[in-house]
Amino acid sequence: MVAHLLRLRFALLVNGFRRSVWQTIGFAVGAVYVLFVVVLAVGGVAALGLGSPDLAPDAVVTGGAVLVLGWWVLPLLFFGQDATLDPQHFSLFGIPARRLTAGLALAALVGIGGVALVLVSLGWSLAWLASPALVPVALVGGVAGVAVAVLGSRALTSTLAPFLEARRAREVTSIAVLVLGVLGWLAFVGTTGSGGSFDSRDLGPVIERVATVAAWTPVGAPWALAGDVSDGAWAALLARVAIVAATVAAAWWAWTRALARAMVTTSRPTASGSQQGLGWFARFPATPTGAVAARTATYWLRDPRYAGSLAVVPFMPVVLVVVAGGDLSSPLLLVAAPLVAMLFGFSLSNDVAYDHTAFALHVSTAVRGVSDRLGRVVPALAVSIPLVVAFALASAGLTGRWDLLPPVLGLSLGTLGVSLGVSAVVSVLYLYPVPKPGRAPSSNPPARP
């Protein structure tokens, strides 16, 4: 069974290349890039292991904890869990859930991300280069780390998937995590000094402190096993092994249970809805341009993919505040309005790709190009002009630079126009892969020309 699933995963990967040359090139570029990052990460740790053997183990614990945490949380946020081996595809075969768990867990390692995870986890055992006898222990820890990362990630996504399906829930989660991330960064900046710049000599104690705490959490424990052996802290070692074992067991159990449930439920029903009357179609003028505008407005409200691409816009100013070091009167904030204008305009650049093959309707009805383009821009302008003006006013007010309001307004509205215009052209010339209609806004489409 396990071998079958692995072979299936390989076959899917290889067949993906047969479909298009560009996908193969994209894969190769991605693989080279990731390999580069892996070599950097492993090489850095190995150098640290030889250069400052005291710091290297703590660095590995911190890095490992971040790695596992990323493996757990990122698929949740961006729902990028690859769906090529969707467990529901196996529901007709009557495979015991436990064997499916084992097969899918190993199959998850086939692919750029999985291979990189394994390479980094095993490579980090080189942190113990100064005392080679401990490298095998660290290898065991690395394998445990991979198990915790993969099983934990699958357990989390499959358990939480039903709750995250709802569009609101996912938006709220993404926003909550973003806010948490920003707060975390502010706290980090606050504790390590000021202005976001810190001396590299300060880094050692910080890593040490983080590592001490992280080593007692499920995400950090696997990476600390070799350190315990080195210190001869057998009680601590036993406790950490127990933490790792309990995490793996709990994740295995949760994922198996979720798989067993997925075997006997049909695919999740799509968000159903209804609308009395014609909605926007009754409000916009009865022309082709008006119709396209009404359709676009309806989609913005009803298709989560549009909401997803807009959700990031209000957070740009937050990011700016962070970059400014929390200083609300920093003149840097004046960039917010033009930045929002640019991002907003860019969100239209995948419009035709979002239509998918439904665009055939525009082709077969021989809609004039002007109507199609204008209709898509009108609702965007209706939303973005007040938004951009509000940002310009707010930034002028906060920084107290009312004298700069006219240029900021001019720059912002000009940027908005240029950005929308460029997007209108680009969205026709270059279609880049986007989530299909009905898929989660942040699901990762395979690269396709």
């Binding site: 209804s274 609308q275 009865a286 082709p288 989609y299 439904a358 309707l361 021989a366």
Partner: protein, 234 residues
């Protein structure tokens, strides 16, 4: 290449059936004939005018039901028909009247306010057909219009199409249901592997036999062996 050397003559006012095995090139041919896919070579003439020389005016006179393309399915049924009508440049009152008529005629009135994404396969087919009809085209090109449609609705659609042809309209349908094509169409073309195997009036093509038998004979591929010997329950 999905299609090479297809040459068909569809008389005005005919009810033309296009039949062929899976992968024969039906959808490709119809896409090229309706201005959705530019052919590498060859021409398409509609009413004596070259379609690909100036597609837009001709597209306005054709109603298309494409197969295998998505609809704007986040709209409700009524919104989708309205959208198509307005894209065709019709005025609001006419669109509203015809939307109501079409929803009634295709048994979709109760589902007019539901999102198309929640429709069943057959209902989706019917709403797409309604969108193709809304601007009262002079020619209808329908790719698999009866697929997944229930028998009652199929009979209603057939009646609509027959009366449309009776009033001078031209209909081209592709289908796998030979019996339906034999009863409904007056002309038929059999295509396979991107080539036309036979074309003409239904009576000419079937040559005294049932269309299904003639189709199998033309296309070939029927097996007379025992089949899957292991697929037995006893």
């Amino acid at each position: 290449m999905a299609v090479h050397g297809i040459s068909l003559d569809v008389p005005r006012g005919s009810f033309y059936g296009l039949v062929g095995p899976n992968g024969a090139g039906k959808t490709t041919s119809l896409s090229m004939a309706t201005g959705l896919l530019r052919p590498d070579s060859g021409t398409v003439h509609v009413g004596g005018r070259d379609l690909w020389a100036d597609p837009d005016p001709i597209k306005r006179s054709i109603g298309v039901l494409p197969d295998g393309v998505r609809l704007f399915d986040r709209l409700t049924g009524a919104q989708l028909i309205t959208y198509t009508g307005l894209l065709r440049g019709m005025d609001r009152a006419t669109v509203a009247d015809r939307t109501g008529d079409l929803l009634d005629a295709l048994d979709l009135a109760d589902d007019a306010d539901r999102l198309v994404v929640d429709y069943s396969a057959g209902m989706t087919k019917k709403i797409a057909l309604a969108s193709a009809l809304v601007h009262a085209p002079q020619m209808l090109v329908l790719d698999e219009p009866f697929e997944a449609v229930d028998p009652v609705s199929a009979a209603n659609i057939r009646e609509i199409l027959v009366s449309y042809v009776g009033s001078g309209g031209t209909v081209i349908v592709s289908s796998h249901v030979m019996d339906l094509v034999q009863r409904m169409c007056d002309h038929v073309a059999v295509i396979a592997g991107g080539h036309v195997l036979a074309a003409g009036t239904v009576d000419e093509v079937r040559a005294g036999r049932s269309l299904e038998d003639r189709f199998v004979e033309l296309v070939g591929g029927r097996r007379t062996t025992e089949g899957l010997s292991w697929l037995r329950t006893s």
